[in-house]
Symmetry: C2
Subunit: 394 residues, 2 copies
């Protein structure tokens, strides 16, 4: 395995081992470790006890993950000296990220007799992390949280950084908190149970980190992406470790997304609009929407003469080679509505669209659509419309 040069600079990163998300400079939250590797679940009780002591725990999981790993995690925790008050299970899927489900979880946590020393353990993918994280941040004004992400998407992305949330009629994650976990346990063994499509979708978020700021990691992905998706756990550990270290660096500098954290949204403004238009359903899952959104953001950058067509083609070729979608699925798209959806994004301000554009692979930057007008004297809505037309064929 080649180690990208940028990694050497990230002294905290030890491949396949432990990454510390260090808030020491910002001091906005306590620092915490992300432990990545094989068979981490088996060691969960010890890893938790060494950092947080023996605890009374409430496990929160969903109807897909709990039958796979719930009983095993309970047994491991109990054998390791912890108490498990209960495992709370909700129906799998984004539709559970609603107010009623949050209310039910909080009532259950409190009724179990949780006190401020009770530990919430989120066992599952992004939906479990978002919902359990929000419940943990609200119960008794904040209980300690351990994330055990079980999908590649949540291992490379959503389990790190402390965003929690539920959806409302006004959009995805429009209600939530910034709330850091005390520990993240990323066990690549758990990825064996993940459908290939979900693995690919998660992989797109890992590639994103190379595209944002490190072309060497993108080259590594081009070389190793195929074997990673074929289940090679060494490559998985490397990519997860790299992604977590990259995200940790950005998040610890800007926990509440006042500035540079917005870079993490590369591909997300286009991607969220696509997800919303197609109903957040099975037609297009989040990581796929991000992959398409990344291509659209680079295409817009090419149209703005910020980035070369060669860079765009390279990304397109890599996504295609690993089986990620490179254009939106067939659907009756309404382009003015897609642009409205981009304007309704949480990061939008006063009707402006916040975009992450690029000067090339590894050179992303944040700008508003109004900056486009100032920079290029071109109509930003016209340019964005053109990109939508090109990708949707509408």
């Amino acid at each position: 395995m080649t180690t990208p040069p940028a990694l050497a600079e990230q002294a905290r990163f030890v491949p396949g081992k432990i990454i510390t998300v260090d808030f020491a400079e910002a001091a906005t939250s306590p620092s915490y470790d992300i432990v990545i590797g094989h068979s981490i679940l088996t060691e969960a009780a010890t890893l938790i006890r060494l950092r947080l002591g023996a605890r009374r725990c409430v496990i929160i999981s969903d109807s897909i993950v709990e039958p796979l790993y719930g009983a095993r995690l309970e047994a491991i925790l109990v054998a390791g000296g912890h108490t498990v008050l209960d495992t709370l299970v909700f129906p799998a899927g984004e539709a559970s990220k609603n107010f009623a489900q949050l209310h039910e979880l909080l009532d259950n946590i409190l009724t179990l007799g949780a006190d401020r020393q009770t530990l919430i353990i989120a066992l599952g993918g992004g939906v479990v992390g978002d919902l359990a994280g929000l419940a943990a941040s609200l119960a008794l004004r904040g209980l300690d949280l351990v994330q055990i992400p079980t999908t590649l998407l949540s291992q490379v992305d959503s389990s790190v950084g402390g965003k929690t949330g539920i959806d409302t009629a006004c959009g995805k994650n429009t209600v939530g908190t910034f709330y850091q976990p005390r520990l993240v346990l990323a066990d690549v063994t758990l990825l064996d149970s993940l459908p290939a499509r979900e693995l690919r979708a998660g992989y797109a978020e890992a590639v994103k980190y190379g595209l944002i700021s490190d072309s060497a990691f993108f080259r590594w992905c081009v070389t190793h992406g195929g074997q990673l998706l074929n289940g090679d756990s060494e490559s998985q550990i490397h990519a997860i470790g790299y992604s977590c270290a990259a995200k940790a660096k950005i998040v610890s500098a800007d926990e509440r997304e006042a500035g540079s954290r917005a870079l993490l949204n590369l591909g997300h403004t286009f991607g969220h609009a696509l997800e919303a238009a197609t109903g957040f359903g099975n037609l297009l899952v989040h990581g796929e929407a991000v992959a398409i959104g990344i291509l659209m953001a680079f295409r817009l950058s090419v149209r703005l003469r910020l980035c070369s067509m060669r860079d765009y083609d390279e990304i397109h070729a890599h996504f295609a080679s690993v089986g990620l979608p490179t254009k939106p699925p067939s659907f009756d798209y309404d382009i003015p509505r897609l642009i409205d959806l981009m304007k309704q994004d949480k990061k939008a301000e006063g009707g402006d669209i916040t975009l992450v554009l690029s000067r090339g692979i590894g050179q992303a930057f944040v700008c508003r659509d109004t900056d486009i007008r100032a920079l290029t004297n071109e109509d930003p809505t016209g340019l964005i419309t053109a990109v939508w037309r090109e990708f949707t064929g509408s």
Copy 2:
């Protein structure tokens, strides 16, 4: 007006003016100002604009306060260059601190088209501050919040420190966040509309600060309490300023109540149990319960030979002289249940009761009931029961 010596040390405190709650050392939250004085409401637009810029605002108030000051605040904000998206009003009273009301508020805030630059303004007493503060902390993962407390209780206490919350079947404020406002505007002119009973109840929380750590401020209260409660605004400004500075000092050192912040709960463990037993109703309002709880905590301290009976008598005499209750209202109390309620307090851990006891006026300290056994070899439950018996006559 005599200035207590302890005040001179609190360099940030300028009587009748501005106190900065400085999180610089902890850096867990941005610092913010508390502006205290006459006719502050009239200056609200400027005070907000100078710190936070011209904003799109959502005012949140209740059915008692909004008819008194809502239209005036809206007009002041608009005249001062801000936009008011709407004023959201909910039924006055603790019963509104529930999940359904929170859900409704969040839906309304989002439906109004709030973005991350939208400002939430809480106009009202503690219930408005708790509920609007929680909604602000959750909408789009946190909107800026300005507190305009309209009761003495909220001016001296709940508007500072960033606790938000709603009640559940498992207790008061069992769901909530730590979320600091960006600015607090405490206008003593608004206290003119406050019933005398509410003014007294709020006053008890101000006296508390002297009892915790500053006997000189307690002496000031003994001398000036009567005129403060008769509406003398100089005394009100002084007491609010002193209380906010004292609370700011404690909160900025311990935002999330890991340690010394628990001192602020002097009188609250007994007091909350009394409120819960009497149904959080009109029989006993929060500040009255705190006054009685303070006396009970000092009485327990006397029984433990930590504090002199003379100190207890002095506090008792002062509360009686200003018309605060010195014992619980007539009610069919069940002492084992009262003790259970103390054990269910949010600050309790593993069934232990966290108490704030005192070695004399201005010398409060935190201890657990189990520490009592270690210190004195006496049965803590027996001692606490004896105090309950003495006060309730049961």
